[in-house]
């Protein structure tokens, strides 16, 4: 039982080795999904549905980047949401106090989150499993405490309001039925997903997985644990920080809620429900969980309870998450089709 803290998350059902699905197939699937998403605003006219989709995209970016460090890297980074929060506050403070151009601030959110991720990596370089959870959790709390205590600048628990939004030439971002924000969010998700997939399919990504699965062996083959961990965490931070910055621009405020347990729980469930180390799984799970949550709006207080119950049931029955469930279902259908044929 002393070995219970295995740093690896083996997922047998999922191809994690790079290059198993041919590039071409993946690119075609990706293009079709992108086309469908890009055409959605033509069919979905109401602002509220578009808002839900924008939130889906933001969550999907955060969850899929978390999957990079958690699933692929096997680094139990529980400070991931702090990176998102850093993006939120970096954008808000830079635009509001420094007066930086919102688009530059959006980019800066990603850069600052990346720098923060590198800083967190330092204390956890030599740590394993549960200790990483605890230290990164401590880091998240530290960030939140700093934000709360420096209320003269950050607004403390009150947060910041009237954060400048993004702009697009003379386009009215506020009265376009969230049309522009929808495409910016989608663009962010697309860029992030391409980045993640290229990363995990590259040699570098293969090294990260190798280190996760067999640390001693990978190190003996000349890989640097320190370098790989730092690269993994930094890579997972950039788009997370940008998503945070975008979130602040879109909501036009910043609040310490982003550091809270409830948001972390939701996003973590997306990663795990999606099935760790799949990237696409986390994105699909973000969609399913968010839309599911909205669909149950009528249930009021019962909604979070039903969601929680659903998460527990899926985790108990399908340890590899929704992807495992889809695979199992697909397998059953395939068997039936073979029988009838």
């Amino acid at each position: 039982m002393t070995d219970a803290v295995a740093p690896a998350i083996p997922t047998r059902a999922v191809p994690v080795s790079p290059g198993r699905t041919p590039w071409k197939h993946e690119a075609i699937g990706f293009a079709i999904a992108l086309l469908v998403l890009a055409l959605l605003p033509l069919f979905i006219g109401d602002t509220y549905s578009r808002h839900v989709l924008i939130m889906v995209f933001i969550y999907a970016v955060v969850a899929s980047n978390w999957d990079l460090s958690l699933g692929y890297g096997g680094v139990f980074n529980f400070g991931h949401l702090a990176l998102f929060g850093i993006g939120v506050y970096a954008y808000s403070l830079l635009t509001k106090l420094v007066g930086l151009d919102p688009w530059l601030a959006l980019f800066a959110g990603g850069v600052i989150a990346t720098v923060a991720a590198v800083l967190v990596t330092i204390p956890i370089l030599r740590l394993k499993g549960i200790y990483i959870i605890l230290v990164t959790f401590g880091f998240a709390q530290l960030v939140m405490q700093i934000v709360i205590s420096q209320s003269a600048i950050t607004g403390g628990t009150q947060g910041l309001v009237r954060v400048p939004g993004l702009y697009w030439f003379d386009h009215n971002m506020i009265r376009d039925g969230k049309f522009a924000y929808f495409y910016i969010a989608l663009g962010l998700l697309v860029a992030s997903t391409i980045f993640l997939r290229v990363f995990v399919r590259s040699r570098l990504g293969a090294g990260v997985v190798a280190l996760r699965d067999n640390e001693e062996y990978a190190i003996s083959r000349g890989m640097s644990l320190v370098r790989q961990r730092m690269i993994t965490l930094a890579a997972s931070a950039f788009f997370t920080g940008m998503a945070g910055a975008f979130y602040a621009a879109y909501q036009r405020n910043a609040s310490v809620d982003v550091f809270g347990m409830s948001l972390a729980t939701i996003i973590l469930s997306m990663v795990l429900l999606g099935g760790a180390s799949t990237i696409y799984g986390a994105i699909i799970a973000s969609f399913v969980l968010t839309v599911f949550g909205e669909a149950m709006a009528d249930f009021g207080a019962w909604r979070p309870m039903i969601t929680a119950l659903l998460i527990i049931v899926v985790m108990l029955v399908y340890p590899s998450g929704l992807v495992g469930m889809i695979r199992a279902g697909w397998g059953a259908i395939a068997v039936r089709m073979k029988r009838t044929a």
């Binding site: 039982m1 499993g129 605890l134 347990m261 729980t265 973590l268 469930s269 760790a276 979070p304 527990i312």
Partner: protein, 292 residues
């Protein structure tokens, strides 16, 4: 000067006792089962609300409090059986249990919100009234917490070290296979560990509910504090976090006195992260996991 000393001493003892009570259950579950129970804070909330409900239906506090603590033991057992036990043996159990216990916590939290509503409530103090010690005004409730906590922790120590059942729990914490082979009912012992932990959480909740307003979300801050204490004290034993709890209590009290409330949390976290960089296994940790 004497007032500074009294302030820090009393504040440290009080906060330390509270932190010890919040953290000990978390440490007990980690050392025996090897998982972190992220619903531990919610269990504190539930313990306080169950006690409140029992008083509401007319029970006197001296009966309601113990009854609530016992009931929480049952809740802990159920929780273990439903969201932890089925996962034992999975390779990524640590991570999956984090999510299942978080989800279970959310379930209980929102359940409490539905049943009892968001309006804040308060429990009666353990002992009503106030007094002055060394020029510092304190409530008898705080004194009661300072006295009861070491008694409960001492009883837990005796249970673990002086009874055969406690011995069995320490054994399970060290080697699961070998525990099976000497005929221990490992599942029941896991359930027992979780049950005791939940009871201790319930007691912590009653402590909190007696001097602060209760709400269904009151558990998240104590959970954080408990996690910090456990990390700080080392996650390999039960006694490490208890020492750490008091140490943090005194540190906070001293910081509050000299630097003010404003800086205390930041200082605490900074020191915590520094210590973890130097001694990642915590300051009071031994090399292996085990109950003692």
């Amino acid at each position: 000067m004497s007032s500074a000393f009294a302030d820090i001493a009393f504040g440290g003892l009080f906060q330390g006792s509270l932190y010890a009570m919040m953290a000990v259950g978390l440490a007990l579950v980690w050392t025996t089962i090897g998982v972190f129970n992220f619903s531990h804070g919610v269990l504190m909330m539930l313990g306080a609300y169950v006690a409140w409900q029992l008083i509401e239906i007319g029970l006197p506090a001296w009966a309601a409090f113990p009854l609530a603590i016992v009931a929480m033991g049952g809740v802990g057992w159920l929780l273990q059986a439903s969201v932890v036990r089925p996962l034992i043996g999975r390779p990524n159990i640590v991570l999956v249990v984090v999510i299942t216990t978080l989800a279970a916590g959310s379930l209980i939290e929102n359940g409490a919100l539905t049943v009892w509503g968001p309006r804040s409530k308060q429990l009666p103090s353990l002992i009503a009234g106030n007094t002055t010690i060394g020029g510092v005004g304190v409530s008898l409730h705080q004194i009661a917490i300072i006295v009861i906590t070491p008694v409960i922790l001492g009883a837990l120590w005796l249970f673990l070290n002086r009874t055969r059942l406690g011995l069995a729990m320490r054994a399970v914490a060290q080697n699961e296979d070998a525990s099976h082979l000497v005929g221990l009912n490992v599942t029941a012992l896991y359930g027992l560990a979780f049950g005791i932990a939940a009871s201790l959480a319930g007691l912590a909740g009653i402590f909190i509910g007696g001097y602060r307003f209760m709400s269904p979300v009151m558990g998240s801050d104590p959970l954080l504090k408990a996690l910090i204490v456990v990390v700080f004290g080392g996650i390999s034993s039960v006694s490490g976090p208890i020492f750490a709890a008091y140490l943090i209590g005194f540190f906070e009290a001293a910081c509050n006195y000299y630097f003010g409330l404003y800086w205390t949390p930041t200082l605490l976290f900074a020191v915590l992260i520094l210590i973890l960089m130097v001694r990642p296994e915590g300051i009071f940790a031994s090399r292996s996991r085990g109950l003692a």
